[in-house]
Amino acid sequence: MDLGLFIELAMTGALVGAMYGLVALGIVLIYKTSGTANFAQGAIAMMGGYLAWLFAAGLGLPMWLAIPAAVAAMFCFGILVERTVLRRMIGQPVIMVVMLTFGIELLLRGAVPGLLGSAVKRLSLGIPEAPVFVGEVLSNRAYLIGGGISAALIVAAIVLFNSRAGIIMRAVSDDQGASWSVGIRVERAIAIAWGLSAVAATFAGILWGSMQGIDWSLSLLLMKALAIAILGGLDSIPGVLLAAVIVGVCESLATGFLDPIVGGGTRDIVASVIIVVTLMVRPYGLFGHEQIERV
């Protein structure tokens, strides 16, 4: 086994996984506070990428202004979605909410490329392409920076959840009724959670978009994010970080070492297999809490 290849793939995998983890962060945030899974997260990431492109190329803003503008806009969008649409679905069975998020995904996937153009768009973050050599092992700058930013954001989320606002959100996720009776504004907390997850998705969209170009395929980040969320535990933010690294490394190594044996394409399967194995062995993920149903 080529050790150099192994290390290289593992490193790239960990960094790429961290970037997927940003999308998973959004899913976990929403699940923690409102108990629903948001299958539109990939489409929201795509929309965030498109908005950044719109501000940068369409309106001519410099990058350091366009990105915060896009982030702010998406934060408002997240709150808007929660307020108008999700509010009405309180109390409905979970499958209805899941279907609703699928509907949102379709709507965004149609509206955003339709209005802004479906050709692949360029989003340049100014990261030079030259590779960085660590000994024999090559790592490219874009992944280092992208992975680094993602990891930093996830750590920031962990820190946030220990602050006052974070404690409020944890209370809401634990027991909405009790939170209400203590005086916590539950709707506000949920709305903020949606806004923050849209922000996380936007960062992911911008990072991925700068590497592959902005088009509808950004919405496909969803599947990997789901695998990470389940592996780490749907209600655990530190779990996202660890699971992201694991999923990224597994995928990378699978592509490197299993593909020649199987004949290609194992990358996508890894996420699915991880989901199935996790659900069979440890359903609530590495760090998730078991859901106890009370009669």
Binding site: T36, A37, V85, R88, M89, Q92, P93, V94, I95, M96, V98, M99, L100, F102, G103, I104, E105, L106, L107, L108, R109, G110, A111, P113, G114, L115, G117, S118, M223, L226, I230, L234, V262, G263, G264, G265, D268, I269, A271, S272, V273, I275, V276, L279, M280, P283, Q291, E293, V295
Partner: protein, 357 residues
């Protein structure tokens, strides 16, 4: 005035448990059946092939999924994979010479087996986790189909369906394919109409409402959930083979991706969970909305002369489709079946008014 309810007296339980006790309901059903049977001779060919036939097939699929979701309350986001297994199995069997009837049943069995295997693994968990497990199943089956050349047909990756005979008649041309799809749909509909009246159906209903309560009164929840998966997957497999033989006439992996699963899911939910009529309505709406929007937009763009960019024009049906689903779920979560119910209730006592709510 229409639904005459006076004078209907039941003298035994069998009579009381009829599917359609009111004569007007029976009349409606008879009219619909007559229309469906006469369709090839009455309706323009375009509508037969491009609208009625897919509508029948997709309704059957929605019925199968409805058994699992509306009947047993489980979530299945991988129904496309189930149909794919059935389709591929039956096409391969037909190509090596097996009769179509056997191939269809074998396709159903294969789907049921593989579907139950995944079901058994996934049924440890509930709702959301089950949904993710079924998505994982979809991707794994996708992968298996495309990467095993024996299954997918190798490089060209689409396998033509050879001419087949069903119950002795060669299935070719619009007439025969339509009637074959109609026959299969009729069988599945009859099954679904009656399943709620059997012990199996009642056990599923108990599991759906409160599974631990069902466990307490002696229903083995795991066994019934698994049976629901099994039956639903069997139906899915059979519908998959009908889809390929009657409509697509060739099978390739592109046709059975996650999009198909979400489409059938949308049909079931928009139609109304648990309702047979709802599956038909939902299938019609979800199937035809993009086509209708497409034609509408083309019509409007031509007439009014507004130059919409091609991009926007092409994406509008997708947008409207997503918006339609969202609006339906928000406005009428019980689906089209509930709307039909409301209309029926209105006419039940017409020209009098219903009691104020």
């Amino acid at each position: 005035m229409f639904y005459r309810r006076a004078g209907i007296r039941h003298t035994d339980y069998r009579h009381e448990r009829q599917l359609w006790p009111l004569p007007f309901d029976r009349l409606l059903v008879a009219v619909v059946v007559a229309l469906l049977l006469a369709a090839p001779f009455v309706v323009d060919r375009l509508y037969l092939v491009a609208y009625l036939l897919p509508w029948l097939i997709w309704s059957s699929a929605a019925l199968g999924l409805n058994l699992l979701m509306g009947g047993a309350g489980q979530i299945h986001l991988g129904y496309g994979a189930v149909m794919a297994i059935g389709a591929y199995t039956s096409v391969h069997l037909v190509r090596i010479g097996a009769p179509l009837e056997l191939a269809m049943l074998a396709g159903g069995l294969a789907s049921a087996l593989i579907g139950s295997v995944f079901g058994a693994a996934a049924l440890r968990v509930k709702s959301l986790y089950l949904a993710m497990a079924t998505i994982a199943m979809q991707y794994i089956v996708d992968f298996a189909i495309t990467h095993i050349p024996g299954v997918s047909g190798g490089g060209q990756a689409s396998i033509e369906v050879p001419p087949v005979r069903f119950l002795g008649l060669p299935i070719e041309g619009d007439l025969r394919t339509y009637y074959m799809a109609l026959a299969v749909c009729a069988v599945i509909t009859l099954f679904m109409l009656n399943v709620g009246r059997t012990a199996f159906g009642r056990a599923l209903a108990a599991v759906r409402e409160r599974d631990y309560a069902a466990e307490i009164i002696g229903i083995d929840t795991f066994k019934y959930k698994l049976l629901a998966f099994w039956t639903s997957s069997f139906i899915g497999g059979v519908v998959g083979s009908v889809l390929v033989v009657c409509y697509l006439r060739s099978v390739s992996p592109d046709q059975f991706h996650l999009d198909l699963s979400i489409q059938i899911l949308a049909m079931v939910i928009v139609g109304g969970l648990g309702s047979v009529l709802g599956s038909f309505f939902g299938a019609g709406l979800v199937l035809f909305a993009p086509i209708v929007f497409n034609n509408l937009i083309g019509f409007a763009a031509d007439r009014s002369g507004i130059a919409i960019s091609t991009d926007l024009r092409a994406h509008l049906p997708l947008m409207l489709y997503g918006a339609l689903i969202i609006v339906f779920l928000v406005v009428e979560p019980l689906g089209l079946a509930k709307i039909y119910d409301n209309v029926r209730n209105y006419f039940l006592v017409w020209p009098f008014r219903t009691a104020r709510r």
